[in-house]
Symmetry: C2
């Protein structure tokens, strides 16, 4: 076995059986190893931003690390934006970057660049391969790092000569460093705070707290203390299920977020960081809980959040979880397509056990609230603000959970970043229904301009105008069947058809201005 | 004037009147400044890799720096691959990256990342803004850096509060550091070497040596010494014109490159580095001139190459430049579409004074040799191996030289990286004719696999298979009229029509297998 084959054998031994890739010459031994050591599915993506976004979506749903294969510095750089989202989501993504043979690096060949600097900017752990003999060992270290400390992006820079040189076969798998346990004192402090605060308390959930177990524990805590449940604005994944609580998502704009927190005097963080504004604005603070008297951490994002929540519920002597009363599912909307009717149409038509990848941004802001009473589903969000996760993340999610429909609720401007993901959806025959929220502009920037109090000038308007895109044509170009919906009825009909049809589908939902 | 307006005024004073952009909230004051300080054209690109590739193409043709506006670390990261190409081409590109307000950085908001590390990996010069009052001064420094030392990528990280804070108006423009002069001793050594070597000498041209003046001086040197003229494999720009010499491009694969240099005993570098292999291969050296007895540098890429070539010609007492004999332009091909007939069709149909952006890779490898005897044109190439420059570079080139047709000879796999550039071509009504060399695979990887002596396994084949793409549909989706050509006659007819029609056009040239 050469180094590359030893690495692939190690990955397979760890249960890693899917490789999202856009390889080049410096990764050829690894590509050849995928054939030589059977068991790995290779998923070609025609741009690296699709590779990394798909890896993120895959790992979020698969509950195990996702593997990428990327070509040198420029190929890796193409994938950084979606790795940034993965980093913010604490998704375990293992990147393999092929590099020049070591003896060729000094030649500064055209594709040579500072891979370490690029990888370091977005990875929690970076390793350069030491030798062909150690390549599989290096990989085992990187793999363990990816699932340590609650999950992170971990990157192995694998020199070409270490891939093709003689390896030592499958490496022993390492134990990952688990989530830090939350001590009794943190639990006790949170308990005292929430009891004292009563209805003026907030349990602020994020990350690993947003699981079914975490949400059930949160509901128990609320039942005893009367606290409110909030969540991060942009979470990695949340289960939605009739009976489970739906925490209030902290609003995006800082004024609104501060207003939402204004009634409260005590905030307990569980799996979330002290919330901060997405951007800094003149006269507004970075910390959104700036006026909340007491903010304490029950469990940091990298800590073992769920047991901490359960310990807190137990410390409060909370009774067992009681499911919330059933809520009416929204009916099928009719009339003009607006952000509200678009989200209602999704909520009305989505099948049980689907996955909703939400990168609808300004259009889908209400989806979360509208989607009450719908059958169980998992919701994924854009975590790091690097637009273009949706099409790629939906692709990866569909590969992780075959048999479940994935609905990608997708802003048009962001969707243009990774439209290439549609090709992989077609190639792999994935059950992804993409709904383009087609308002034909970067609406968030229009809103931000209005917030400055100024009128948008002609250049500012042009810089936010996305007219002229025909998503139906683009989708068909990538091999994905597509249609346009111009009314809520159209959209409902298109969704019904898409849900009943296997394979990828795209619906351009054209919003009325 | 706020900081952003002061910066824009400074750019305009320097003759920078085009800004390639994909802005976000942290760049809003700069966007608003484009309206407030009139004179700048804003060119929206719907992905940052288009922004930076267009900037590269623009600056190569405009002969002045190109300006980009990018959103934080992830937005910049999306543009790194094409900046890598610009770096290798020594193109003066000035990046403006909006960053969070300084006081907001410590909050580690979702979009926060290590912009310095990302920018440093691909820029020759990086500056962080010091204050609102100094923002225009910082910009003037960065602008001067971009045109210093023969050209480079230079980046200004502009904090949002420095953009919106009070500025000091237009800054004084700085003098750039010019190209280093080449000393008499280097000229004399090159003269002696080439005289002694005679027909066994090579003048190896690159970078700034590949201008009309440089090529004429090279022809004079050849006339006296009998040396051969070679060029870099992937040059930034070269004028092609009846009568001008066309240096032999060094072949891509190292064995072929070494074979091409085998007859020679002396190699003089003028504007080019000592040539190295694109990739390292077992048993082959990095240096392609490894077996050439003598290699000397007349002028480094960042030196003043043209005067050095002219001084060398003069030192050789070379007579004035004599135009080469006219060569027959290739006729219109017929029959099957092959790489050869495709390139012949372009050469037969391209109008005088056009620009050819060549990212045809394996398909267009013969174009250079086929395009003899055609009317004058400028040829641009992918310089850094980071695929996806073509559509973006052609976009920028068309903006730089309105009135000249730009032909983008585009490999399909690479074209998928930046298909979004078609949208900007449509929005701006640019005279770009894109010819997709549609072989429906990553052919170079197929070739590389064959070179290893192994047969491609099913995964390796799948990883290099791009079937299922309909470029005509994709182009129409972005607003660009498109048609398909399946024979050489089809292609000639489509080219004739495209050349006669203003505005963007795309032709998918489907190659026979």
């Amino acid at each position: 076995m050469n180094g590359a084959e030893s690495l692939v054998a190690t990955a397979l031994a760890a249960g890693i059986d899917t490789c999202f890739a856009n390889p080049g010459t410096t990764e050829l031994p690894l590509v050849q190893a995928l054939d030589a050591v059977p068991g790995m599915k290779g998923v070609l993506c025609v741009h690296e931003t699709v590779v990394t976004g798909a890896a993120d979506g895959y790992a979020r749903m698969a509950g195990k690390p996702a593997l990428t294969l990327l070509h040198l510095g420029p190929g890796f750089a193409n994938g950084i934006a979606n790795l940034h989202n993965a980093r913010r989501a604490r998704t375990p993504v293992v990147n393999l970057i092929g590099d020049h043979a070591r003896w060729h690096r000094a030649a500064d060949a055209p594709l040579t660049s500072d891979i370490q600097a690029l990888a370091g900017a977005v990875s929690g752990f970076v390793r350069e391969s030491g030798s062909a003999a150690s390549l599989a060992e290096d990989f085992a270290d990187v793999l363990a790092a990816s699932i340590s400390d609650g999950g992170q992006v971990a990157t192995l820079i694998a020199a070409a000569d270490h891939q093709w040189g003689e390896g030592r076969g499958q490496a022993r798998l390492r134990e990952a460093r688990g989530r830090a346990l939350v001590g009794d004192s943190a639990v006790d402090k949170a308990r005292a705070m929430l009891v004292a605060a009563g209805a003026k308390g907030v349990l602020f959930l994020g990350g690993a707290g947003l699981t079914e177990r975490g949400l059930k524990a949160a509901a128990r805590i609320r039942a005893v203390t009367g606290c409110a449940l909030f969540s991060e604005t942009f979470f990695a994944r949340m289960p939605r299920k009739p009976g489970l609580p739906v925490p209030t998502r902290l609003p995006y704009f800082p004024e609104m977020a501060m207003d939402a927190l204004a009634p409260f005097g005590a905030l307990v963080l569980a799996g979330a960081r002290d919330p901060v504004a997405f951007f800094g604005y003149p006269g507004l603070p970075s910390r959104l809980a700036d006026k909340v008297a007491q903010v304490e951490t029950l469990a940091r994002p990298e800590a073992d959040v769920v047991p901490a929540l359960e310990a807190l519920a137990d410390a409060l002597k909370a009774p067992a979880f009681v499911a919330e009363a059933a809520v009416q599912r929204p009916g099928r909307p009719s009339g003009a397509l607006t952000p509200l009717s678009l989200c209602q149409a999704i909520a009305a038509c989505q099948p049980e056990d689907c996955v909703v990848m939400d990168e609808g941004l300004t259009v889908s802001a209400v989806y979360d609230a509208v989607a009450r009473g719908v059958p169980a589903f998992d919701m994924l969000m854009l975590t790091g603000g690097a637009i273009g996760m949706g099409p790629a993340g939906a692709t990866g999610a569909a590969l992780a959970v075959p048999g479940r429909k994935v609905i990608n609720l997708q802003a048009d401007g962001s969707g243009l970043y990774t439209a290439q993901a549609l090709w992989t959806q077609a190639r792999q025959g994935l059950d992804v229904v993409t709904v383009i929220c087609s308002n034909r502009r970067y609406e968030i920037l229009r809103v931000e301009i209005a917030r400055t109090g100024a009128a948008a000038g002609p250049i500012a308007r042009a810089m936010t105008d996305l007219g002229g895109v025909d998503w139906v044509s683009i989708a068909r170009g990538y091999g994905v069947p597509a249609r346009r919906a111009e009314t809520a009825e159209d959209l409902v009909a298109a969704l019904d058809q898409a849900m009943a049809t296997p394979g990828p589908q795209l619906i351009e939902a054209v919003l009325n201005d």
